[in-house]
Symmetry: C2
Subunit: 213 residues, 2 copies
Amino acid sequence: MAKDSGADATAEGPPSPTSEAKTPRTERGRRTLRTILDAAAAEFGEKGFHEGSISGITTRAGVALGSFYTYFDSKDEVFRALVRDMSGQVRDHVAPRVRDAVDGIDAERLGLESFLEFVRRHKEIYRIIDEAEFVDQASYRDHYAGAVDRIRTRLAAGAARGEIRADAGEVHAWAIMGMNVFLGLRYGVWQEDLAPSEVAAAANDILRRGLAP
Amino acid sequence: MAKDSGADATAEGPPSPTSEAKTPRTERGRRTLRTILDAAAAEFGEKGFHEGSISGITTRAGVALGSFYTYFDSKDEVFRALVRDMSGQVRDHVAPRVRDAVDGIDAERLGLESFLEFVRRHKEIYRIIDEAEFVDQASYRDHYAGAVDRIRTRLAAGAARGEIRADAGEVHAWAIMGMNVFLGLRYGVWQEDLAPSEVAAAANDILRRGLAP
């Protein structure tokens, strides 16, 4: 069972999206930071990085400019924090669903299904992550490297339980992530003509046989 | 055999990257247009769309500004033409290799292997296609829709020959394209630590069993 496999590396909780010095220390501060990050997602998702502005973010968030600068020094810094935050949101949305899997292959089905559901509610994630390729290449790479690491960890746990072929490794993890990203683009962002469960079942059927021991 | 399946829809040749009125009518004109498009790939690949310029393109190409305007009206237009041209280059690079496949699944192996080889020689393709998402969404969608169509056609041909499961369809094609795009990013653009043939063989092994009838 995937449940007690430790397959998802989320137990340690999300890293703070801001630098150490600016981590909010109160519940109220954490709520303000959350509001600013959500406003940044809306601002950059709608206008893109170059057209988006700090004042656009604070207006959407309903906070004073000073509150923004309590947490971030610049537009670049809030954008980087937003990419890390979105990576963390995907991970935290997917992880509890994956724990319900009946086996290692089923974990990938639930991972894709819950990712598709997340994407439909946060369509701006594609624009933001994709723009990171141009605005901050390191954030872009970290986002995908982190996702691949989580898939590799799940595959290794499934292989250790004899549910997945023993040679499943990095290439397989990148292949699975690529499937998920483009199925998310097509069936999450562009058109919702199939249910997430249908898309995930069809894709998982490839893996069910393709990754069998 | 994939060879006589008509599985790749390339026999009609690439569409002209420019609008009808501006298609070169002489061999010399075709060479000039090719030179301009290659220079545009270098310019936009290195500087991005916003920093890239028409004068940067003509300097790289070693052609006069007037030659540029013989074929394109604007920076937007040459960028759109470049995206179409790169889609066509990928297709024309992959198609003859796929014809050597021993069956429908092997066609996907050769498709990925030749795509990885193409990417290593044209690393700028990722930046250009990805930037199209922001510069010209229609070109971006057309690029991926075209790639998916070619995969679907190959899967259908393989299914008709009894080599691929009969229900292989759109979801499977998007899954395969996503695999290819991200394996190309990781093993083509970012790092060349595995040979294209090794990456393609590992990924194809999933499909060999996963798409069997």
